[in-house]
Subunit: 353 residues, 2 copies
C-alpha cells in the first residue's frame, strides 16, 4: 500500500554478475583489463582529503575544461553525469514525453533503453536489426513523424557492429526535427566517432563513458556532447533531481585519465590487437563471430548451445555474458581481457567442447 | 522542438553558491568546517587505483555491513545512494503516483521537495508551519485519506527546529497506511533520531547523509533506513535508472568515516558548542534566533533587512544563505563554521550594522 503503481509495473535492468569472490576470469561486463593511467594513481595519492568536506562543483568545470579542449567544443556543449547510464537515463525525461510519440531503437541493443522507457512511461518504436544483426539505415531514414527521437548504440551492443559512417550521417540528416542520441560507449575501440559532428547537427547528442576505454568503471563518470540547447535540457532535468551528481574525487580522477592521451592510446591498441587474435582463434574453434568494433566479441558456436557454453565456462572459472533472449540466445558476449586471459579462454573452450 | 513538455514546465532546484575563488568565509551551504576523519585520508592514500577498472558493487555490501552494525538493522533495511538528494529523489517515483493523491510537507522546509514533486508530476499538500516556524503535529495527525504520504525534515531546514519526539511518533502512528519519510540530514547535531524506530513502524523511512556530520559533502553518499519492503521499492526505482550509483572510492571513504566514532563525536561536539556560542552572540547583537538542533542557525535582525545583511556580509567576505521568499525573507541561514569563522562573522556584523 505504500508503493507507487510504477514500482509494481516496471522491470528493472539486470546488470552482469559482479562476483565478489574474485576467482573468475571476469570477461562478462566489458570492463577494461588494464589499470587506469598512472596519473590516476598520482592524483588519488596526492588528493587533499580535507577538501571532501565541501560540495563538489555542480558543473564539474575543471573536468569540462579538459573535455572542451580534447573535443574542441565549448563547455556549453558538455554535460557530465554519474556514469553514462545516468546521462542516458536523464535523456528520457529531457527529450521524450510520457504516453506520447515514441523513441525508436533497435530490438537488439543496450537493454537499459526499454527499462528507461518503462520508468518514464515513454512509448517505444522497436526496429529489428536485419538478419546479419546490422542496423538497416533505411528503417531510420524513413521514420517520418512516427517518432519523437532515436537512440543508436554505435558500435552496437551486444553485437559490437558499427554502422557505416555515411549511413549514420544520413540518418541524422533525415531526422533533423528529432533528437538523435548516439551512445558511443564503445567508440574508442572503433574507427570513427560522431563527436565532431555535434557542431554541424543541432539534433545530435553523443554520449560517452570513462568506464571502458579509460579503465574507470569504478569511478562512475559519463558525459554527453551536443548543441547547447540539448545540454541545457539535460541540465534542467539534472537540477530537478540531484545538483551534485559527479563527486570531487571522480572529477579529479576523470580529468587525470583523459589528459594522459599516450596511455589511453596504447591501452586501446593492446585491446584491439587482442580482440583480433581472439576472433581468429574463436573462428578456428568453429565459432561464428560478428565483426567487432568494440572491446568485446559476440559469437556463437556452430554446434554448442550458448547457455551450455556459458555454464560450462563459468564452472571452469571463466565468466562471460549470456542473454537468454530471442534471436541471441545462441550467442556469448565475451569481453576482451588481457592476452593471457583470452589464451585461457581459448584453452578452456578447447577443454570443454 | 527536441525537448519534452516536462523540460519546459519544471523549475530546477537552485543550490547555494559554490564560489570557486575560495576567498569567502563560506557558511552558506551547511558544510562541516572540519576535515573528515583521518581514516578517510588513510583509505584514499592506500587505495588500489587499479581496482577502479572494475564496476563497483551495485549494492555497496561492505559499506552496508558497517551501517548495519552501527544502526543494528539488517542489510535489507538499508538503501544507499549518490547523496541523500538522490535517495530522496528516488522516493518520489517509488512511493507516489503522478496526478494522484498528494505528498504532504511543510511550506517552509527543504525546497527540493517541491522540485521533485514537479519533476515526477506528483501533487503536493503543503502544510504551513505555525507562527513560531514549528510543525503543528495535529496538522499531520488528522490527514485522513487526503494524502499518499508525508515528508518531514527533522530537524527542519532552514529553521533548524526539531519536532518533539512524541509528536513525531504520534504522526507516524496516525498514518500507518502511508509512508512517512523523515529526512534526518541534520539529526546528528540534535538529541534524538528515528533510526531505531524503523523496526517498530513499517511505514517509516529515515533518510541520512554523510555530507554534514561526516564532513563528506564532496564524496556524495546518502542512505535510507526502513522496512525491507520500502527498501525494495527504492531498489526497483534505482535499478530502473542506474545500477551503479555509489562508486568504489565513495563506498570505501564512507565506510572509513562512519567507523571512526570517536572523531565523529568530537567533531559534532565542537560544532554544537560553537553553535551555542554563536546563538548567544547573535542575540546580543539584536538578532531573533530560532532554536537550532542542526549545524546552522536561522536568524533575523530586529532592524536590518535580511537581503541587506546578506549582501553586506558577502561584500565583506562572509557568505551566508538568504532565501528571498515569503515568511522568511527577513532571515539569514548561517552555517556553523569553526569558532574562528564565527568570531569573524560576529565582528563583521558589528562592523556593518
Amino acid at each position: 500500500m505504500y508503493f507507487s503503481k510504477l514500482v509494481e509495473s516496471i522491470c528493472p535492468y539486470v546488470a552482469g554478475e559482479q562476483p565478489q569472490d574474485k576467482k573468475y576470469i571476469k570477461i562478462n561486463t566489458n570492463e577494461n583489463p588494464y589499470p587506469p593511467s598512472k596519473e590516476v594513481e598520482k592524483i588519488i595519492k596526492s588528493y587533499d582529503y580535507s577538501s571532501l568536506r565541501l560540495y563538489p562543483d555542480p558543473d564539474s568545470n575543471v573536468l569540462a575544461d579538459s573535455l572542451s579542449k580534447i573535443y574542441n567544443v565549448g563547455k556549453e556543449n558538455i554535460f557530465l553525469g554519474n556514469g553514462s547510464d545516468e546521462v542516458l537515463a536523464m535523456c528520457f525525461p529531457a527529450f521524450f514525453d510520457p504516453n506520447d510519440l515514441p523513441v525508436a531503437f533497435a530490438d537488439i541493443t543496450y537493454s537499459f533503453y526499454k527499462v528507461w522507457a518503462n520508468m518514464y512511461k515513454i512509448n517505444t518504436h522497436v526496429i529489428p536489426l536485419n538478419d546479419n544483426f546490422e542496423i538497416e539505415a533505411n528503417d531510420y531514414i524513413n521514420l517520418g513523424n512516427k517518432v519523437k527521437g532515436i537512440i543508436i548504440t554505435n558500435p552496437n551492443a551486444p553485437t559490437g557492429i558499427i554502422l557505416d559512417k555515411q549511413d549514420l550521417i544520413s540518418i541524422i540528416k533525415a531526422n533533423k526535427d528529432k533528437v538523435v542520441i548516439v551512445d558511443e560507449a564503445y567508440v574508442d575501440f572503433a574507427n570513427y566517432s560522431m563527436a565532431e559532428y555535434i557542431k554541424e547537427f543541432d539534433n545530435l547528442l553523443v554520449v560517452r563513458t570513462f568506464s571502458k576505454s579509460y579503465s574507470l568503471a569504478g569511478i562512475r563518470c559519463g558525459f554527453a556532447l551536443g548543441n547547447a540547447k540539448l545540454i541545457s535540457a539535460l541540465n534542467t532535468i539534472k537540477n530537478s533531481i540531484n545538483s551534485y551528481t559527479v563527486n570531487r574525487l571522480t572529477q579529479a580522477v576523470a580529468k587525470a585519465a583523459i589528459e594522459d592521451r599516450d596511455y589511453f592510446e596504447s591501452n586501446i591498441n593492446k585491446i584491439v590487437q587482442t580482440r583480433e587474435w581472439t576472433i581468429t582463434k574463436l573462428k578456428e574453434l568453429g565459432f561464428y563471430v560478428l565483426p567487432s568494433s568494440s572491446n568485446f566479441v559476440f559469437a556463437k558456436h556452430i554446434e554448442c548451445k550458448g547457455k551450455d557454453l556459458y555454464l560450462n565456462l563459468k564452472k571452469n572459472g571463466v565468466l562471460v555474458r549470456h542473454f537468454d533472449l530471442d534471436r541471441i540466445r545462441d550467442y556469448l558476449r565475451i569481453t576482451i581481457g588481457t592476452q593471457e586471459e583470452m589464451e585461457k579462454l581459448i584453452e578452456t573452450l578447447i577443454e570443454i567442447m
